[in-house]
Chain length 340, copies 6
C-alpha cells in the first residue's frame, strides 16, 4: 500500500517537537511532503531541519503544488477554523490541534463539512492515549465501574501563566485556562461518559491573579495584556443526571504546583487518575487497587497513529470532529454562563 | 445577674451527650430546668441522670409549668419547625439542631417569628467553632486571603450509610447526605463568603449504592427503606461571581474513609481545611504556611456559649435564624434542581 | 433449646482471660458449670471470680458430680492427651488448647476416640478466625488465587524466649518455638491447602541463642534449663507438588521484633498476610490490592463460637481432631528430621 | 611481566558488554587476542568493534592459530562443558559463564580436568564482588555473626519471563529460574557457609504462569515453547545442621517487581542483603546497624580481576571449578527432587 | 536492716507526683515519716493523701519531733540553700531538687558541709537514669566513642514560657531557661566528660520574646513580671580542649515544639540522644547504629533509688554535692558572662 | 560602553570551571584577556581551551604586556596576599578567591590598599547569591525576623578529608576545616548581622580523626601529612549581645554525610537554611512557612556579576575587602583561642 502524504500547517514548536517527530516514526504509513507557515522562513527552516521536501508561505500554494492526503494544523486557535475548512475543501483528512476552534459554530461547521466531504477530521487530545486513561476505559468495559454518574475534572496550575506566546491574548486564543488546559480533562470526562451533550451548564471565570501581574513558575506576565480568565469553574449536568465538575486554572492559590486529575465515580467502583487507582469491593470487602507497572507511553505517537488508523478506516479512539463540536459548544456555554 | 433558665426538647443522644453537658459546663450563665420528650420515660431518665428538676412528655405542659428563657431543640428534623414556632410563641430564645427544617418556607417563618418576638433563634452548626475555621476567618480579616471567589466544600463518606436511626427516612429527615452532612460545610462556605444568596443553583443527587444495599463502615443498611440520596453534588453561583462547588455523600467509591474539607480560593491567598494550610506569597515568593499548634477545642461547648452570648446581646458567631433561612432555601433549590 | 453445660480443666491464664470470657459472651448457648485444676485453690479462685458454681481439684470428681456436655482443656501440653481421652470417655465434646499433644500417636488416638464416641474434638487455633485469613479463604473460593502451590509460613521472634512459665521445658511442652508458635501458621498453611499430609518433611532445629542465655524482649531466661529449640526451619512437600517453607523462632538475629506472616502463591494470584494484600492481574494489568477496612475481630470469641457450632452440628471452620492428628504428625516428623 | 593472552568464545551480548570491557580495563595484565563464534560474522563484528586482532568461526581454528593463555566462555549453557573441556585440553585457564554446566557430572569432569592440567577453572558469579557481600564476609571474619546456621536465599521476579533469547528452552539452558537466577544467590549462600555439600536436598518446581503465557515486565512469552520451571523452591540441609531455604522465580504472584536477597542467621548476629543491614547486640542492647556509604562497584570488573589473580597464583575469591562442581550437583539434586 | 526514715520538705506538685510516689515504691528501704510546708495546710493535705504520719509547718519543728535519716527538698530554688544547710546540720542525708542553689557559693557551702558532716548530699537530675544516657555511658566504657572532645547540648522550647508558678521570677528562681531547663543537659554533658571545671565560659542571654508577652504552648505570660532570660547560649572550654556548646530556651523561633538533645563527638564514634543513635566505623565501613528496643524507665524511681544507694554506701550515679557545686559555678559564670 | 578587561591568575580547577565560564557568560560587560600561572603550561592550556588571547608564566609580565581592568585570583590561599597587593598596585580591581588570606594583617593591608587606590577588592563567597540566603535577607528587610540575636552556623562533613590537593598542608592553606569550609557560613552569618566585629571569640580545634588516617568519602588521606584541624568549634559574642555558634569539620562522627546550615533566631521570627524555612507568628498563631518554588541559581555567575556591578559602581552584595578583613581577623582569633 502506498503511503499517505501529509502536510504540516504551522511552523511553531508543536509542529517541530510533537507532530513531525510522530509522523516520522510512522514512516511506513505516512510521508511528510510539505510544511507551510505564514512566516515562510519558519517553514523553510523546519523543512530543512526535518528533511521535508517542500516549504510554503501560503496554504493556497501548498494545495496548488502538492496534493496532500492529510493536513496537520498547528497554528493559533483562531486559525483552526479557516485552515481546516480550506483543507477539507481540498478533500484532505485533517488532524487539528486542540481546541477545535474559538466559536462553537465554527467547530460545528468543520464537523459538517468533513462529514459532507467524507474525510476524517480529528483533534489532537493526546491524553486519550495515556496508559491510565486506557486502563480506565478497560475497567469500564469490564464492568468494574458500573454506571458512571459523577466526574470531577481538574487541570490546575498554581502560578502557571505563560510569560511567552499569545496565551493571554483573547482574540487569538479564544480564552485562557479553560480553552488551553481545561479542554484536555473535559474531553476525557466526556469520553468516559460516552460524549453526551449537557442539559445544563453553569460556570464562572476569574482573573484576579492575572490582572494583578507578577512572576510565576512559567515566567513573568504583563497584567496590561492579560485579557483571559486565569481560572474557570463549571458544572455540567447531563440528561441521565450524570454530572461533571470542571476546574481549570493558570493561577490559583493552592498547594500543588499543578494538579491534573479526574475522579470518576460509578455505581460499582470509582477511579482516580493520574496516577490510576481503583476503589471498589472485592471478595465482599472494600478494596483499593493499584497497578504498579503501567507502561509509560509516547502519547503523541499513539494519538497520531490513532488518527492515521481513522484515515485508513480502522477503529480509532482519536477525538472526532463530531466530539470536537460537542466540546466546543460546551466551552462556549461555559464562557456565556460566566458572563451572564 | 440571674441565670438563664433552659429547657431541653428531645430525649435522644444529642441532648444527652452534646447539649446537656455543654450547658452544665456553663452553669454560671444558665440552668437546665426541664427536659421534654414525647416518650416521657426518656425525658424522665435523662432528667434523673443529669440532676434536672423537671421532666415532661408534652411541650405544652412544659411551657405551662416552667417559664424557660431558652429552649434547645434536639428532635428529628421534621419536628424542628413546629417545636421552634411553639417556643418562639412562648417568647423563648431557641437553639435548634441542624438542619433548620425540612422546608425552606418553614425556616423562613421561624426566622420571621423570632424577629417579630425579639428573641434569638440560632442553629447548632458547631464546626463554626473549630480552631481551623476561626483561623480562616482571622486570616480573611487580616487580608491574607484577599477577595474569596471560589470554594470547594466536601463532606464525603466512602461507605457511611448509618445502619441505625432514621437517616434514610425521607419524611423525617427531609433528605440524605446533603441535609445531614453537606449542610455543615455549606454553612462554613457561606459564612466565609458573607452568607450571600446564590443567583443560580444546579445540582444532582444519586442513590445507586444506597439502593443496592450492603454492609458499610457504619453498619448494614436496608435498600428497601433507603429513600434518600446517598450522594449530592451542586454548584452555587453568586451575584458577585463567587462560586461554591458542594459535594456530600453517605456512600461514594473513593479512597478515603471520609473526607470533610474546604478549599477556599482568594485573590491574595488560598486556604485548605481540615487541617488548615495557607498558600500565598510572602517576601516575593510563593509560600505554604502551616500552623502546627492549633488548639483542639470543644466545639459544642463553644457553640453553646456563642448561643448564650447572643441571648445576652453580646457579639456572637452562632448561626442565626436568618442565615438558617438562607441555607435552607439553598438546600431546597438543590433538591429541586436534582429532580428537574 | 437448653444450653450446653461446659467445664473448664486448667486454672491458668488462658482459662481466665480467653476461654471463660468467650464462653460467658456466648451465654445463650452455653453455661459454665465447673472449673477443675490440680491446684484446687486455683480452681476455687477462678470459679469465684467468674461466678461459676463448682470447683474441683480432680477431674474424676468433676465427671462424678457434674455431667458436662463439653470440656475445655487449658493445661500444659503434656496433659492434653490424658485429659482429652478421659473427657471423651465421658462422652464430652472437647475443646483442647493447641498443640494437640506432644506425640503424634496421642493426637491420632484422640481423634479416633472422638470419632468412635461420636463427639466433637477441636483444637483452639484462633488465627483461623482472623479477618485476614477469612478473606484469604474467600479469595480462594472466588477463584482469585487459582491453584495454591507454595506457601512461606513464618512465626518469628527476635528475642522472645519467655522468661516465665515452662516454655523451655521439653518434657512439659514437647518442644520450643515450633510447637508453641510455628503450629499456628502451619495450621493456617495446611488449611489453605486443604489439610493434606506431606510426602516429605525435612527440617532442622537450633538452640544457639537459647543455650547462651541472656535478656530479651520477654524477660531473662536461664540457659541451664533451656531444653528446647529456639528456632526451627522445615520444608514440607505434598503429593501434588505443593510445598510449605516453615520457620519459627523464639530467638533469631533479625530486624523485626516479631514477624508472623504467610505468603501464599497461587496460579492466578498471590496473597500476603498479616496484613492482607493480594497480587494478581486485573483489566489486563498487574494489580496490587489492599483492603483498608477489614474489621478487627475477637478471634477467641469467634473460635469458641465455631466450636459450639460444631457441637450443635452446624458448619464450622474450627480445627478438627482429624486435622490436629495430621498437624501433630508433621510436628513429630519435623523433630525427627532435625535429630537425624 | 608479559601480559596474558585471552580469547573470547561466544559472540553474544555478555561478551560484548561484560567480559570484553572488563578485560580491556585490565589491559596491564591481559590482552584479548581473538574472538570466536560459531556465527563467524558475529565474531568478526565484535573483533572489529573492540579492536581485537583475530576472529574465528571454529574453536579448533582458534587454538591452531593462536595460543591463548586463557579463554572466556560466553556461550549457551549446554556448550559450557564441551568448550571448557577443549580449552582445558589446550592448557588454557578458563573463565566460564554461569551456570557451570547442564549436568553435574559435566561440572565434575571440568573441575577434574582443570586440576589434572594444572590450570585455573573459574565461573563468573559476579555477585561475590558486590560491596554488600564483601562486607558480609568481613563481618563473618570479624566474628560479628558467630556461627552461621540458616540462610534464606531468594532471587524472585514477579513477571520476568524473558520474551527473547532461549531462556525457556530446556535443552539449551538446562532449566529455568533456578539455573538462570537461583544459582547466583545459591553460590553466595554456599560461599558464606564454606561451600559444604548438603546431606539432604528437597525441592519442587512449578510452571503454572509460564504455561499460561502472557505479557510481563520483560516482554511477551509463548506458552507453547515454555519448557522450563517458572519457579523453584528448595531446602538444603548440611551435615552440621546448617540449612538453606532457596527460592527462585521468573514469575510469581508477589508484590515486588523483583526481589534478590539473602537473610543470614548466625549465633552472634544476622545480616540481610541487598542492601546490607546487620542485627546483633552491642553494649548490652539489641542493635540494628546500617552502612550508609558502601561504595558501588563494577562487579564484573572486580570478578574478572579476581579470575586474573587466580591465574597469576594470587589469592582470589572467584568461584572455583571445585565450587562449581558442588553447586552444579546441588542444582541437579534439586531438579531430581522435584521430579520425584 | 531497718528502713531509712525520710521527711519531705515542700508541699508542691513535685513532692506529690515525683518524690513521694518514688519513695513509696521503695518502701522496703525507706519510710516517709513527715511532710513539711510553710503552708501547713498543704503539708497536712499531702500527708493525708499519701498516708504519712506527720505534717509540719516549720522545719525546726520537724527536726524537733522526728529524727529523719534523710530529707527531700522540693521547694523553690532560693530555699534550697537554707533548708539543705539546716538538714545537713541535723545530720540528715539530703536529696535536693535541681538546680542546687541560686548562687555558686551556696552550692559550694552545701557540698562542704555535707562532706564535713559525713552525710550524702545529692541533686535530683533524673535524666541521668534515662536508658539512652545509661547506654551512652556503657558505649563510652566499652570504648565505642574513644575520647569525647565536643558536645552540643540543647534544651529548647519554641513557646514554653510557663503561664503559672514563679518560673519568671528572678529572685525565687535565680534565672530562667538556663537554670530551669539548661541545667539538665549541662549535667549530662559534664558527666559524660568526667565532670571537669571549664577553663573558659562565654555566654549570652536574651529576653526579646519574654518581654514582648503573649500566648504560648504553656499558657499566657505577663511581660511585666518577666524578669528572667527566655534563652541562653554558652560555650564552655575545658583544660583538655574539650568543649560544650549549650543552648536553653523558654521561647525561640524554631520549628520543633521542644528539642532536648545532646550530640556527643568522640575520636572513635559519635552519639546522639534523645533518641539514641551511634555513628562509628565497623568492619571497615562507616556505620549508623540504632537500638530499637531500649526500655522505657521510670527515671524518678531510678534516681531516688540511686540516692538511697548512696545513703547506704553503695555505688551510685546520682548527682553528688560536689558535682552540683561545679555545675552551679558554671551557671553563675554563664550569667556573669552574659551581663558583661 | 567599552568592556572591562579581565586577567585570570591561577591555572587550577576553580579558574577553569568557575571563574572563566562565569566571565564568558557576562561577555557583554567583560572580556578575558589573559591567563597567568606559575606553571606556564597550565596557563597556555587554559587560554587555548577557552579561546583567551594571552598566557603568562609570571604576573609581572602580565601587567607589563596587558593592562587589565580587573584581576581574578584563583591560587592557593598563601598567594592571595602577594598577588592581590601586586594587582592593586597596578590599579586593578581584584576578585579574590576565599579565604582572603592566611593572616589577618594581610587581609587588612589588602583592604587598605584597595581603598587607597580607589579600586574594588572583593572575595568570592558565592553562597551569598544562593536563593535561600537572598530570601533570608528579604525576610529581614521586610521585618519578618525582627532583631537577629543568635545564629548557629555549621559546615560539617562526616568523613570529607580531601585525599588530593594541599587541603591538609598548613603552610599553604593556613588551616583546615575552618578556613576551607567554615568561612562560607561564617560570612553568611556575619552578613546577616551587619558584619560586626565580635567582642569575644573562644574556640577549639581538633585533629583526632585526621591524625588517625584512613579512608573516607573524599578519598584516602595520609595522617603523616595531616597538619590542620579536622574540626573547629567557636563562639563569637558581639557588642549588642548577638552571638554566633560556629562549627566546621572535615571529619566528625555524625550521621549526615555533610551538613551545611544556618539557624537564625530573631525577635519576630527564625529561619533555617539550607533549605529555607521560616518560623514565626501569623494571624495570632505559631506558623511554619515553606517556600516550595525557590529557583536554583548559578551562584558563581551571580557572584561574578555582583563583582562587576561593584566595579561599575552599582549596588552590589559581593563580599568587600573591608568585610574580608573583619572575617580574616575572626579566623585568626579562632585559631589563637584554640592554641591557648
Amino acid at each position: 500500500m502506498s503511503r499517505l502524504k501529509a502536510a504540516i500547517i504551522g511552523g511553531g514548536n508543536i509542529a517541530d517537537t510533537n507532530h513531525i517527530p510522530a509522523l516520522k516514526q510512522l514512516s511506513e504509513q505516512v510521508e511528510i511532503v510539505a510544511v507551510c507557515s505564514r512566516d515562510f522562513s519558519k517553514a523553510r527552516a523546519l523543512a530543512d531541519k526535518h528533511g521535508i521536501a517542500h516549504a510554503f508561505g501560503e496554504t493556497a500554494e501548498l494545495y496548488r503544488q502538492c496534493t496532500p492526503n492529510l493536513v496537520v494544523i498547528c497554528t493559533p486557535n483562531n486559525l483552526h477554523y479557516p485552515q481546516t475548512m480550506e483543507a477539507l475543501e481540498n478533500s484532505c483528512h485533517v488532524f487539528c490541534e486542540k481546541p477545535p476552534a474559538v466559536k462553537a459554530q465554527n467547530a460545528r461547521d468543520m464537523a459538517d463539512l468533513a462529514n459532507k466531504k467524507g474525510v476524517v477530521l480529528a483533534y489532537n487530545f493526546q491524553l486519550r492515549q495515556a496508559s491510565e486513561f486506557a486502563l480506565l476505559m478497560r475497567c469500564k468495559a469490564d464492568g468494574l465501574l458500573g454506571d458512571i454518574y459523577h466526574i470531577k475534572a481538574n487541570f490546575l496550575r498554581r502560578r502557571g501563566i505563560p510569560g511567552w506566546g499569545y496565551f493571554t491574548n483573547k482574540a487569538m486564543q479564544g480564552g485562557g485556562a479553560l480553552i488551553d488546559l481545561g479542554v484536555h480533562v473535559l474531553d476525557l470526562a466526556l469520553y468516559a461518559l460516552g460524549y453526551p451533550t449537557p442539559e445544563q451548564v453553569i460556570a464562572n471565570t476569574y482573573d484576579f491573579i492575572g490582572k494583578a501581574g507578577g512572576k510565576g513558575l512559567m515566567g513573568t506576565w504583563d497584567p496590561a495584556t492579560f485579557e483571559v480568565e486565569d481560572a474557570a469553574t463549571a458544572y455540567l449536568s447531563f440528561p441521565n443526571k450524570a454530572s461533571i465538575m470542571l476546574s481549570a486554572s493558570f493561577a490559583l492559590n493552592m498547594q500543588a504546583e499543578k494538579d491534573r486529575n479526574l475522579d470518576i465515580f460509578g455505581s460499582k467502583g470509582g477511579a482516580k487518575l493520574f496516577p490510576f487507582t481503583l476503589h471498589t469491593e472485592l471478595a465482599g470487602e472494600l478494596a483499593d487497587i493499584q497497578f504498579p507497572f503501567l507502561e509509560e507511553t509516547d502519547i503523541q505517537l499513539k494519538n497520531t497513529s490513532a488518527f492515521l488508523d481513522a484515515c485508513l478506516g480502522k477503529p480509532s479512539n482519536v477525538c472526532t470532529g463530531e466530539q470536537g463540536a460537542i466540546l466546543q459548544e460546551i466551552v462556549e456555554r461555559i464562557y456565556q454562563s460566566s458572563t451572564r
